[in-house]
């Protein structure tokens, strides 16, 4: 579900799997500690890059505000958790698991993501979000 920039991959995905992923943009288009929204198989997916160049993907839809906005949130850390704050009402979401940090009952979908040759690729939604590396 997350990929480090070229090389230091922390969640290795097989080459065959990655070949089926959707390329969404050049890594350059994704600034550190920011997100972009990508269209992946009809789904709005928020792709984030952290300070230490890990890349994560969550559903862009914010279940609290019912708007498609998470990619526009501020990225940072809560404790050791890399997170995004919804730009609407500031609920935090763990970038690794999609778990809402302010409401244990809420979780948004996560997607496989990889970076190959400077391109960010998004794979399928993970079945059971949250089983991190």
């Amino acid at each position: 579900m997350n990929g480090a920039v070229d090389g230091a991959v922390s969640a290795p995905a097989s080459a065959a799997d990655v070949a089926a992923y959707t390329p969404v943009c050049a890594l350059d288009r994704l600034p550190r500690e920011a997100g972009v929204c990508a269209l992946v198989d009809g789904h709005a997916v928020a792709v984030f890059r952290t300070h230490d160049d890990e890349v994560f993907a969550l559903g862009n839809y914010d279940p609290f505000s019912r708007a498609s906005v998470l990619a526009r949130g501020i990225v940072g850390t809560r404790g050791d958790v890399p997170f995004v704050a919804s730009p609407m009402h500031k609920q935090g979401f763990d970038l690794r698991t999609g778990q809402c940090l302010d409401d244990a009952a809420v979780r948004v979908p996560t997607y496989d993501v990889a970076v190959r040759d400077g391109t960010v690729l998004v794979g399928p939604a993970r079945e059971s979000p949250g089983e991190g590396p």
Binding site: E33, L39, P63, V75, T77
Partner: protein, 843 residues
Amino acid sequence: MSPHLRRTLVVVGHGMVGHRFVQAAIERGLTETHDVVVVGEEPRPAYDRVALTSFFEVGAEALSFLPTGEYDDPRVRLLLGTTVEEVDPAARTLRLSDGGELAYDELVLATGAAPFVPPVPGHDLPGCFVYRTIEDLEAIREAAAGARTGAVVGGGLLGLEAANALHGLGLETHVVEMAPRLMPVQVDDAGGATLARHVEALGLRLHTGVATKAVVERDGRAAGLDLGDASDGLSVGADVVVFSAGIRPRDALARAAGLDVAERGGVLVDEQCRTSDPHVWAVGECAVPGGRMYGLVAPGYAMAEVVVDALLGGAGAFTGADMSTKLKLMGVDVASFGDAFATTDGALELVLADAVAGVYKKLVVSEDGRRLLGGILVGDASAYGVLRPMVSSGIELPDNPEELILPASRGGGAEVALPDEAQVCSCNDVSKADIVAAAACDGTTRAGATCGSCKPLVKRVIEEYYASQGRTVDRSLCEHFAMTRQELFDAVAVHGHTSFDEVVAAHGTGRGCDVCKPTVASVLASQLGRHVLGGGRAVLQDTNDAYLANIQRNGTYSVVPRVPGGEITPDGLIVIGEVARDFGLYTKITGGQRIDLFGARLEQLPDIWRRLVDAGFESGHAYGKSLRTVKSCVGSTWCRYGVQDSVRMAIDLELRYRGLRSPHKLKGGVSGCARECAEARAKDFGIIATEKGWNLYVGGNGGATPAHARLLAGDLDDETLVRYLDRFLLYYIRTADRLQRTAPWIDSLDGGLDRVREVVVDDALGLGSELEAAMARHVTGYRDEWRDTLEDPDKLARFVSFVNAPDVPDPHIGFRAERGQQVPAEPDGPVVLGSAIPVGVPR
């Protein structure tokens, strides 16, 4: 109750207490059953007499308790400039100076007191004055304009205040006091001596233990005071003489009507403040409950409440009052409270005198040393706030009571926990429990609203309460920065940081969050004056700042072009209308006199801006924590009442401060005359035209915690106005907490508005030119953020719906129609493009 059963209540005197009486009558519902007629002799509605001296700085308007000239309650009628000449208690009628008559059911005398003028020869010469009303001060100011010397007869609390004022008007000033020391009623000999040293050091000439024999005359005017036997010829020159030798209750009406009066003057009243006639009441300085005169406003307020209560059938009683006083004269603190002269049997005195520091402090404690009975503080009255309530509540003293008055550097500064019933604000009789109860529901009390001396204690009580509730008064920004916004601001300035990475590496931990990142961005923007989206700073911004528009509930944005001062041409209106029509935007007029265009999708923003920018518009910064608008009325250009060009001033100010990043949004307003149609006093900075220039008000806030702006300085010319505003805004930007608006910021400063005035007007910190220079940099560095974005392909690249499908609208965004415009229609859950048809058709 049907109208013919309504009763008539007449109040004689619209001074401080008369006004409080009417306020209480309205608040407690007395006007449901009574029509209230207030007859006031002075030409203007009640004003803050306690703050009379500030008239010289801020003018009459700022002192007014009723700037609009009327109460909100239509059942209260004010007859100003009218004197009651006679009362007939048998017929229950009054005769007025305009020849009219009034009938009453209940009569409240609130006629106050008049200065006592000793009948020395020459006391009524031109050039002799008293110090009681705004008219008195106007006359004194006029006389001082052509004078060189002045003298005040009377070295009491008011006399010193008057002397200070004469000194401030540029006169060489003498103070003549018959008693052997200054402020004989409040301080003892040693305290008086300390006070005298302070007062002399400030340039006043003192003559204590000296009686005034006569006013010396020259050319039919006062020219000096004769202070001794003609033989020794002791006299002082004085072109202006002010008598401040005590006050006498104004009891003439009551006396003539046959009501009981005290031997030494004053209308005698019982505990309910009822006179010897059951339908006549007396409150304030004209009344002497139990024969005792109280020359302070707080007891008068208490009496007013008691009478309202009695008229409502209550049993409230006035049983005496705290006579504590605290004043600050030219920076010299003087306070006297409780049994200051140790008249209680066996009372002990604990004295700290430091002639070098000019401090004299005395505590009067009970024989067993357990209770504080009173005290005197001269030179440093910082302990007053804690000590006075200790007297009224009788709480036990700590083991080493001297620690209460020792300077902190010598082991002092002891903190004492106040009991709940301790009266914290004596002016308004507010206890610690009242304050805590109000704080618990985020409310406020009247504490601090009158003389202000209790404010530091009020603040402490509130902070202690919050701390006890675990609502930490920890002012850390967030988990990443253990510092306040101000500390961060200073750190950034000192170290010259230009990026969040530098700031967090040097002063923080972790990688930041939605709290600290926008704060750092705002601080950097204030200091760097560069584009908010440049240099990687876009990622620090809240979405509104990051996309230069305001996010709305469905993830679309609203767009507000700047309309400076609310002035717009027909062509400008047409362009905005065409843009809205072409992009299908919902339009609404804002409270800030401009037009908000709603429903723009992220990817549409650049196209919308381009159209607007091409037509000469720019960003209105409706999104940022920054200057929003400067609202104006039409002013002297059109309005028949206008005295200044409020529109031009509003435009100038809006263009000057546009783009200024601040701890919270900032709004301004300019009205062309005192009618205040622009509602400027509801703004962070409000400007109201006067005949002579502009009055500058600060700290007005709308929103959930409304606050009226208060006068910072009056009758300013354009240039001074702008200079003060530059300083005020930057002082706020540099020192306020995150998301702290101007009103709470001012309250949080030690000294409140006075502190702001010291820094902004008096330039007490010597920061003035630095702040002005910083503002000048802002003004020259300003660039329209929309235009900059349009010109920069890198910045523009972010304005897409999908990074890999920039032209495909996000299917989550839908609209429906309402009253002929489109409004958001939210989906029930995530929408998958292709599998569902979005609601409505985004254009």
